[in-house]
Symmetry: C2
Subunit: 543 residues, 2 copies
């Protein structure tokens, strides 16, 4: 067994079942090993950002790290933005990056780069293996490094070519997972006293692990029992939604709106949450969103078993979870007869059209903004959003989620601007015949930035407040009544209409069927067709 | 004038005439400033790798740095691979990267990242501006930092949002360029003695600046006069070629072939070249390619005026440049009647079809390998190749070269694998109506890697020699007669045929017309059509 084979065997022995790969020459021993060792399923991406974003989506659905296979420093660089997103999502990933042979790196060759330097800003753990005999052990260390309590971490293992082709060591085992920290009785009692005493002047802020099927009803029960308010953090790697699931109100993205929500809270009780901070800074506005003098009290850390802590708090308070009300169903026939296709109508239609257990990946930016609450009336589903604000997450995450949850339909909501960053994922989705329906909201603009420009372009020294999205809010900004000063040069930086992107042609070019729609009836028909096909399908919605 | 406006004005005042941009919220002040300040021409890219690769291509044609406009650490990350390539090409680039406001970065927000850490591995100069009043001066420092004698450098300027929106300082001027170091008389005389004494046992190795229209005839004259051998480095950011231009033989990419060429050389006389090092390392083969005991003697550094040093050497030796022989013209009609379309025929046809002063961007990997020497019979042209080995350089560089050399036709040679990395460049080329003909060699495989796999897959402990290309050589490897062991899993990592990429559809999706061809006649007809259109055109050649 050579070093590469010992690594493939070690991944397989420790539950790393999938490898998203974009290999080059220095990774050929790893690729060759795939046919000799019963190792991970390998999924090819034609660009490294596809590979790393897929690993993020995969982890969110499985809780298990996938491996990535990348080609030297520049290949890792191409995957960097989605590693940033995965790091912020606390997704576990084992990056395997081929590098020059250990004796070769001291010379200046074209592909020589500071691989560890590139890895470090997006990795919790970085290690360059120096001997082929150690590769299996280093692989096991990398897998172990992806675990931090309930959270996942990014581990990057650099593999010089000679450690792949030289003799390998024994298959290495990763220690069993450490059980999560149980609820801290003292913290539970203290938080119970705070919530009972302050009532609506306390706010229970719930992090990602508390918005799932187990945690959300418990958090709602605590609010019902004590009169406190309850909110979820704005971002969550995976939120359980739909009929029969308890939906927690989210802290708004916009600074002003968030300040408003947190006004009047004398204490934030933190259940796996972190202190609320603005997405961007704005002149004269605070970065910290809690009111001056507001206390922070910790029920549990995000690394801990957050649902268990919420259950303990319920028990302490004698609170009991109850099923949520069933929201009014959507009248699809009425929508079909409507005349105008816009994002609002699409949102309503999707509520009615969503198959049971769909995984929704939301990177629709301006167009998808209002969808969240409405989907309480949809079939039970999971909702994944970008966690690091770097565009290009959606299509790769849809690929990874579909691989991680076989048989479940996936709906990817994309802006036409955002989908362009990692469109190569369409090919991998088509190749793997995955049941992914992609809806592209084709407004032919960086609409979100048009709003920002309108506001800053008036020559004011201070920019406006942005709203629910990583890159600002066109609608909020426009509604402030700021007079737009957008000349031809700036406008040209924010429009995608000349030439117009033809998303059906792009999809076909990647081997994916699709259709372009401009009426409600056509949108509903094509969406039904897409889900019924149980394969890849792209719908370009001209909105 | 705010900070962003002071920067735009400073760029314009110092000859930075073009900005390749993919802006986000934190760059909106810069975008807004474009309409108020008579600044650089802004070219929008829909992915950051397009932006940075375009800046590389632009510099190679103009010798002037372009600016890039990028959105925080992850946006810079997306541009990293092509910055790596640009750094290895010694192209000058001013990266302007928006960041969070200075008071905001201490908090954990989704887009917070180690921006300087991401920038450092691909930058010679990294600076975060802290005050809006200093932005203009920092911009001037960044421009100055792109200059290192005859070479260009990568300068990355991080601009926290508050330094863009706060009050700006006065427009700053960059000092005049320092004149290049003239030829060192002593070095010239010493090198002249070596070459005259050793004759064919000396090898004059010429770096990038010596392969242009001025340097190459001088180097050839020196060889003629002294009997020494002369070679160019394998890689060069820009090589002048075609009829009437002197073409220097290149040092081979493949380690074995390069060792062979350097055997018998007792001294390498270096004219702006660096010591020859293998692209990859292989077991039992040296990284350093010169023969044991071979001396290195420096005529001049790559930072110096290499053609001037070659001229001085000619003068010292009494050598005189003569025009090269005119090679035999290609019979296009005979090619038109041929039955099989393959890379070889395409190469011959392009020699006949190439318009005067075409800029050829070569990222055809396996398919374009044999083109180099043959193009001596083509019309005068410039030839650009990737310098850092990171795939995804070609289409962005074609965009940047076309912007940098208005009116000149551009021919981009792409593999179907390589073109996928930064295909979004097609849209920018179409939008700017640039005369770029793209030829995609559609072999529907990572053909270069298939060769590597065949070799390493046989279970031998040592990999084979690779040949003329960053990722190995299918043909060379296959011809070694190594028995291939490529099972279904490995094969699946190296083929792009299921589904097949449809490059005409992909082009149409990006607003670019095109055609798919499978016969010599069709290839010639469509290439003529493409060049005649003087606009963007893509030809998918099924080879």
């Amino acid at each position: 067994m050579n070093g590469a084979e010992s690594l493939v065997a070690t991944l397989a022995a420790n539950g790393v079942d999938v490898c998203f790969a974009n290999p080059g020459t220095s990774e050929m021993h790893f690729v060759a090993a795939l046919d000799r060792i019963d190792g991970p399923r390998c999924v090819l991406g034609l660009f490294e950002g596809v590979v790393t974003g897929a690993a993020d989506g995969y982890y969110r659905m499985t809780g298990q790290p996938a491996a990535t296979l990348l080609h030297l420093g520049p290949g890792l660089g191409n995957g960097l933005a989605n590693l940033h997103n995965a790091k912020k999502a606390c997704s576990g990933i084992v990056n395997i990056v081929g590098d020059h042979a250990t004796d070769h790196v001291r010379f200046e060759s074209p592909l020589k780069s500071d691989l560890e330097g590139i890895a470090r800003p997006v990795s919790h753990w970085v290690y360059t293996c120096k001997r082929s005999l150690d590769v299996a052990a280093a692989g096991a260390q990398a897998i172990a490094a992806t675990r931090d309590g309930a959270l996942g971490r990014i581990a990057t293992l650099a593999l010089p070519a000679d450690t792949a082709w030289g003799p390998g060591g024994a298959i290495a085992r990763v220690p069993d997972r450490v059980p999560l920290k149980p609820a801290d009785d003292e913290a539970v009692r203290a938080c119970a006293r705070t919530l009972a005493r302050l009532g609506e002047r306390a706010l229970l802020l719930v992090g990602a692990a508390g918005v799932g099927e187990r945690g959300a009803p418990l958090a709602a029960a605590i609010a019902r029992k004590t009169g406190c308010r309850v909110m979820a953090e704005f971002y969550s790697p995976r939120t359980a939604g739909g009929r029969g699931r308890t939906r927690l109100e989210r802290l708004p993205y916009a600074t002003d709106a968030a300040l408003d929500k947190l006004k009047g809270a004398d204490c934030l009780v933190m259940a796996g949450a972190t202190e609320p901070i603005g997405f961007f800074a704005y002149p004269g506005k605070p970065s910290q969103l809690k009111a001056a003098g507001c206390a922070l009290q910790t029920l549990c850390d995000a690394r801990d078993d957050v649902p268990a802590a919420l259950q303990a708090l319920c028990d302490e308070l004698g609170a009991r979870a109850v099923p949520p009300d069933t929201p009014t169903a959507v009248d699809l026939d009425a929508l079909r007869r409507a005349s105008t296709l816009d994002a609002d109508l699409i949102g309503h239609a999707l509520v009615a059209l969503l198959p049971e257990q769909t995984i929704v990946v939301d990177e629709a930016v301006t167009s998808g903004r209002a969808f969240g609450n409405r989907f309480a009336a949809a079939a039970p589903h999971d909702w994944l959003t970008v966690m690091g604000g770097a565009i290009g997450f959606g299509l790769p995450a849809a690929l990874g989620a579909a691989i991680g949850a076989p048989g479940r339909p996936v709906l990817a909501l994309e802006g036409d601007g955002s989908a362009m960053y990692t469109l190569q994922a369409l090919w991998s989705i088509a190749r793997e015949s995955l049941p992914v329906v992609v809806v592209v909201f084709a407004n032919r603009a960086y609409r979100i930035l048009q709003g920002e420009l309108k506001s800053v372009g008036a020559g004011r020294a201070r920019p406006p407040e942005a709203a629910d999205s990583p890159r600002g809010d066109a609608h909020a900004a426009a509604s402030q009544g700021v007079h737009a000063v957008s000349g031809p040069k700036a406008t040209r930086m924010l429009t995608l209409d000349a030439p117009a992107l033809d998303w059906v042609a792009i999809a076909r070019g990647h081997g994916m069927p699709g259709a372009s729609v401009q009426t409600p009836e056509a949108f509903i028909r094509e969406t039904e067709r897409g889900f019924a096909s149980q394969g890849p399908y792209l719908i370009e919605a001209l909105v």
